[in-house]
Amino acid sequence: MATTLFEFFRACTIQAFKGDRRYYGWMSGWTLLVVLGAIAYSRQLDQGLIVTGMSDQVSWGFYISNFTYLVGVAAAAVMLVLPAYIFHRDDFKAALIVGKSMAVAAVVMCISFVTVDLGRPDLVWHMLPWLGELNFPHSMLAWDVVVLSGYMVLNLLLIFYILFIKFQGREPEVRKYFWAVLLSIIWAISIHTVTAFLFSVNVSRPFWNTAVLAPRFLASAFASGPAFIILVLQAINSLTPLKVGEQVVRLLGMVVTVALQIHLFLIFVELTTDFYFETEHAASIRYLFMGLRGVGNLMIWTWASMLMLLIAVVVLSVHKLREDRFFMNMALVLVMVGIWIEKGMGMVVPGFIPTPAGEIMEYSPSFTELMVTLGIWSLGVLVFTVLIKISIPIWLHHLEMKALMEKSISKGRKKS
């Protein structure tokens, strides 16, 4: 067992570093961006968060915006697991490993974004149970730490289990790991619900303090996440030996469409509730859409995002257009970008404007923030690429222990 385990990790490491010129170019490009991000972050560590655009008035910004968006992407892996294991769609199983890898990469990015947002990242051990003082179950942030790290461990274990069995030339038995699949489905929904609660439980911020926030989070996640997955699946189909069936893309396209329709409906519900009889609780949403007392930096982004989502929902809802690969892909990109704006900056920042004391202070990310953010996204791409690079050949039984052993034996023979 121990030797098998050792062989497995050795094979994985070798596989991660083996590749043609294109692979190396791709990896070094993203690594360079990670390094640039790290340089920007070291400046922030040295001087403090003053190098960001944040203030006492707008105390969360671009980092937490990206974090919120990516929790949705992580949760969306459930849309591949659900059909594969609950509705027994075997064609989805090939896509499963892609979805799980994406979830892991997204959680890595989430944890990175939260960490760079901390004023004292060196003291993060204060959140560890036993050693530190995790304020569980009172603090929603404590819940978020628990569900996010749990989700990461669960997904890594699932990937590891499936690949490790395949590596030994066997097929994993569904009934043995079905409980983990079931748990990961519930868990995926929980990570996004808890992240919504992180905002919605704050009575200090009327903009967030609404029960519709969690459903909105889930709807937007199940639109933007699968949009990501569809685009990645197409790339994988053309670049790797893994072939995911046309039916998978079709069904996921349907998921994006319905989720987007629900999401837009929920935005409409919010707008009606806030503006039918406008109170001061609508100040933030007014700032977001129309500007408040003469300022409105976010307006252009909000309307751009609304336009993108509206175009996308029309294209996706018309069957003929959705069936057309070009139109569908364009719509998916619009969904991804539109929701990234709307759920990131458009959700986090207006919560702070105006402040509970009625002050208006605007926010825009600084250069350092942009570079650090770019670095973390690049890190996510790297993690995802490596996971995919390793898991596809193992999944397809192209990389197996037996073959490796025979190879090394024949090599040894040649030498003697």
Binding site: S59, V114, W130, E133, E280, G351
Partner: protein, 308 residues
């Protein structure tokens, strides 16, 4: 709040593990011991790194922590500061009432607060925000935060000072992921500046915008450092942590009033013990018609406002 988990054995075990980690980070056991004897900035940093939560420290550990604070202030400012650790007095619950008929918006409280509490001057951190509003409506969303102080009081306007309300039911305490902020028995909501990880969830959850964050290392001219400090109050803060009004814990626990109350030229602020039936603040609460900000949220602020 009592936790029996921290018996001696676990403390020893955990302490041992931390010390092991410490020696690894510190670059070898002997080096770490030598440095600890010299008490330089690096050894103090590592000791601080492994420092426990304020409420979990033994009296000896707390003494050492306070010595480190004194040494750090000496290094940073060349000033000998005193750090007290006066505990809450039984039968005392502090509260404040502000007479907004008397407040003229001169902001003397803001200045006195900055000087007393060693707040960063650059970048500027102020616990008190005095807002100017039009007569006839109490509407924070249309208040002016940056009115010119030379011309006050302006006709047709009134002034409302805001700061941490020392809520009896504080959302910031509930939200803090590391229990780095809590409500003391005498009512102040305080922060352990060495335990805060700087996530700023408390800033997001405060309905009164009562909290501030050290976006950089606090910039205080050395000759303006107030040397009389309290561990949970105005001692110098590191960068990257939250801070707030503590009702001048370093003064009030010694029986004095808050700096803002003392500085107000019109006597608009009344500070005292809510549990003492003969205190002035109790008389105000009984005789005047008072209100609190955002009372509908159920945060139970301990700052009341009233008119003459």
């Amino acid at each position: 709040m009592k936790k029996q988990l921290w018996n001696r054995r676990t403390i020893l075990r955990r302490g041992g593990l931390l010390a092991l980690l410490g020696s690894v980070f510190g670059g070898g056991g002997t080096l770490a011991t030598q440095a600890a004897q010299e008490h330089d900035a690096t050894s103090d940093y590592f000791a601080k790194f492994f420092q426990k939560h304020y409420l979990r420290m033994t009296p000896e550990e707390l003494d050492k922590a306070m010595e480190r604070i004194v040494r750090q202030a000496k290094r940073d400012h060349g000033v000998d500061i005193k750090v007290s650790n006066d505990p809450p007095v039984e039968g005392v619950l502090f509260g404040m009432a502000i007479n907004i008929s008397r407040c003229k918006g001169v902001r003397k409280c803001v200045e006195a607060c900055m000087a007393e509490n060693n707040q960063s001057r650059d970048p500027s951190i102020q616990y008190i925000r005095v807002v100017e509003m039009d007569n006839g409506k109490l509407d924070l969303n249309n208040s002016d935060h940056y009115y010119e102080a030379e011309q006050v009081p302006r006709p047709g306007k009134f002034y409302l000072p805001m700061q941490c309300m020392q809520c009896e039911n504080p959302p910031c305490v509930k939200n803090c992921p590391t229990k780095a902020t809590w409500k003391e028995l005498d009512g102040m909501v305080v922060v352990d500046y060495d335990w805060c990880i700087g996530c700023r969830y408390c800033l997001a959850s405060c309905p009164y915008w009562g909290r501030r964050f050290n976006w950089s290392k606090p910039g205080i001219p050395s000759d303006e450092v107030n040397p009389f400090t309290h561990y949970l109050g105005n001692r110098p803060r590191p960068k990257g942590v939250a801070e707030k009004c503590t009702f001048c814990i370093q003064r009030t626990r010694k029986g004095a009033t808050t700096a803002c109350t003392a500085a107000c030229p019109t006597g608009a602020r009344i500070f005292g013990n809510l549990l003492d039936p003969h205190s002035e603040i109790r008389k105000v609460l009984e005789k005047k018609k008072v209100f609190r900000l955002k009372e509908e949220l159920g945060t139970l602020p301990k700052i009341w406002y009233f008119f003459d």
